[in-house]
């Protein structure tokens, strides 16, 4: 039995990811929980997240999820999704600046468009002004041969919904990049961690394949 813990810290909808895992997983038990013992005894861990980073970080710290994630990523495969990925970084500029877990080097930045008053304006190469949040299906260019990309064609579209994106420090390495006005990191890996900005549980075939790959990944690169 493959035990997968989806970390529940009260932020948003975890049913989608649990249902998608159950759909692709043979002989897999998916547990949605915030209990440290359960998470640390699972074979694999999903670190999801939606909503505002300040609220997410507050709940992560209050429930001790910070320590759980740090310990889990030492010895078992961990997949961080969306705000879960952002929470691994050092700091986010959302909510006037929020310190994150600092488990990977990098920052979280806003897609600035004309409405945010920031310069330069977020424009596509053809001059089109871009909406924020970045919502919908965008191309992910794979930068490596990571096991989680197995069976997924390069430049497959995945479903994104986010207003902030990560910029990795020089020590880290992107596994996938996308473009929305700027090039940004859509996926990165670090030891036992694979992190994605998009939602594999909502990305149909490509996303389900990635989740299926995660269920058989042993954590090595």
């Amino acid at each position: 039995m493959n035990k997968v813990a989806v970390i529940d810290y009260g932020m948003g909808n975890l049913h989608s990811v649990a249902k998608a895992l159950e759909h692709v997983g043979k002989n897999t038990k998916v547990i949605v929980t915030s209990d440290a013992k359960t998470i640390l005894s699972a074979d694999r861990v999903i670190f999801p997240g939606v909503g505002a980073i300040r609220d997410c970080m507050a709940e992560i710290r209050r429930l001790g999820v910070d320590e759980i994630v740090q310990e889990a990523m030492q010895n078992k495969p961990l997949l961080a999704i969306c705000v879960g990925m952002q929470a691994l970084m050092e700091r986010s500029e959302e909510n006037n600046g929020v310190d994150c877990l600092g488990l990977a080097k990098g920052q979280v930045k806003l897609f600035a468009n004309e409405f945010s008053g920031a310069k330069p304006l977020l424009r596509e190469l053809d001059g089109e002004l871009l909406k924020v949040p970045h919502m919908g299906w965008n191309i992910v260019e794979q930068c490596d041969q990571h096991p989680l990309w197995a069976g997924i064609e390069n430049n497959t579209r995945f479903y994104f919904v986010h207003s902030y994106y990560i910029t990795l420090g020089a020590e880290e390495k992107a596994s996938g990049v996308s473009h929305y006005g700027v090039d940004f990191t859509a996926a990165f890996s670090k030891g036992n961690v694979f992190a994605v900005q998009f939602h594999p549980e909502k990305s149909q075939h490509g996303g389900l394949q990635l989740l299926s790959n995660f269920l058989s990944w042993d954590g090595a690169n």
């Binding site: 932020m11 909808n13 049913h15 909406k131 949040p133 919502m135 919908g136 299906w137 549980e201």
Partner: protein, 257 residues
């Protein structure tokens, strides 16, 4: 190399059954929203919108089960709208597996709901649905107002100002239906779409009036819509999702093919 525009088929459901009829040649149960949602997803729909028009309380429990079933089998984003009035309604739908909820009338009567909901659940799952109708006379500058009750009751609220206010309150997306065009099959109200889309930072889903595939293209290229929603042209088998996406791509719209 860009974000794709989205095609969103819309299922209108009453007590767990799709109404307004769906005519697929080979479908087992034309009223089963789960089977239809799955069919659309397999055909390449980018999202599904499920609009609950059930009036009764018992019926709404059926809706929750339907949303659960769809979410367990369809792995693309699912928006649920219709009768969403409270934070509890939103939580129920998100827990059932909806990725976003669409708030319509309740936002007009209680705009704070949008602010509270986006703060609680995140802007990414709060869609504000607005029904707009042109109120300017011929020759005047275009002006649209928000209507409720299926386009029967005027609210006196300017559509552009309303859209901006809802975004300020935390709406992550706007589902914009033209009550002048809805059901006419004569195309989207492109001027309305453009006016709203250019006035706010968030994505706009154009709705109301699709009669053919060129209407979808016009909605994006001329109406500046980020996504297009249609019901009858797909339900009645006039066009498949594949044909629509292919056609839009040929006309220069970035699509997920």
């Amino acid at each position: 190399m860009a974000l794709a525009k989205r095609i969103i088929p819309c299922l209108d459901c009453d007590k767990g059954r799709v109404v307004k009829g769906v005519k697929f040649l080979d479908i087992r149960d034309a009223g089963d929203p789960v089977e239809i949602a799955k069919r659309y997803s397999d055909a390449g729909a980018d999202e599904i919108t499920f609009l609950d028009i059930t009036a009764s309380h018992e019926g709404r429990e059926t809706t929750v089960h339907t949303v659960e079933s769809i979410a367990g089998q369809v792995f693309i984003p699912l928006t649920v709208g219709g009768g969403i009035r409270t934070l509890e309604d939103i939580r129920t739908m998100l827990n059932a597996g909806a990725d976003k909820v669409a708030i319509n009338t309740a936002a007009v009567f209680n705009p704070e709901l949008v602010r509270e909901a986006s703060a609680r659940f995140g802007s990414q799952c709060i869609v504000v649905a607005m029904d707009a109708k042109k109120v300017s006379a011929e020759g005047e500058e275009n002006r649209w107002e928000i209507f409720t009750h299926g386009g029967r009751k005027p609210t006196g609220i300017d559509a552009i100002e309303w859209a901006q206010r809802m975004v300020e309150y935390g709406a992550g997306e706007i589902l914009l239906t033209s009550m002048d065009k809805d059901g006419t099959k004569s195309g989207f109200d492109l001027a309305l779409n453009r006016a709203i889309s250019n006035a706010v930072s968030v994505p706009i889903i154009a709705s109301g009036g699709v009669g053919n595939l060129q209407d979808l293209v016009d909605g994006v290229l001329e109406g500046h819509a980020d996504a297009v929603l249609a019901a009858s042209i797909f339900h009645f088998g006039e066009y498949t999702i594949e044909e629509a996406k292919q056609y839009m791509a040929e006309k220069g719209v970035t699509m997920r093919l």
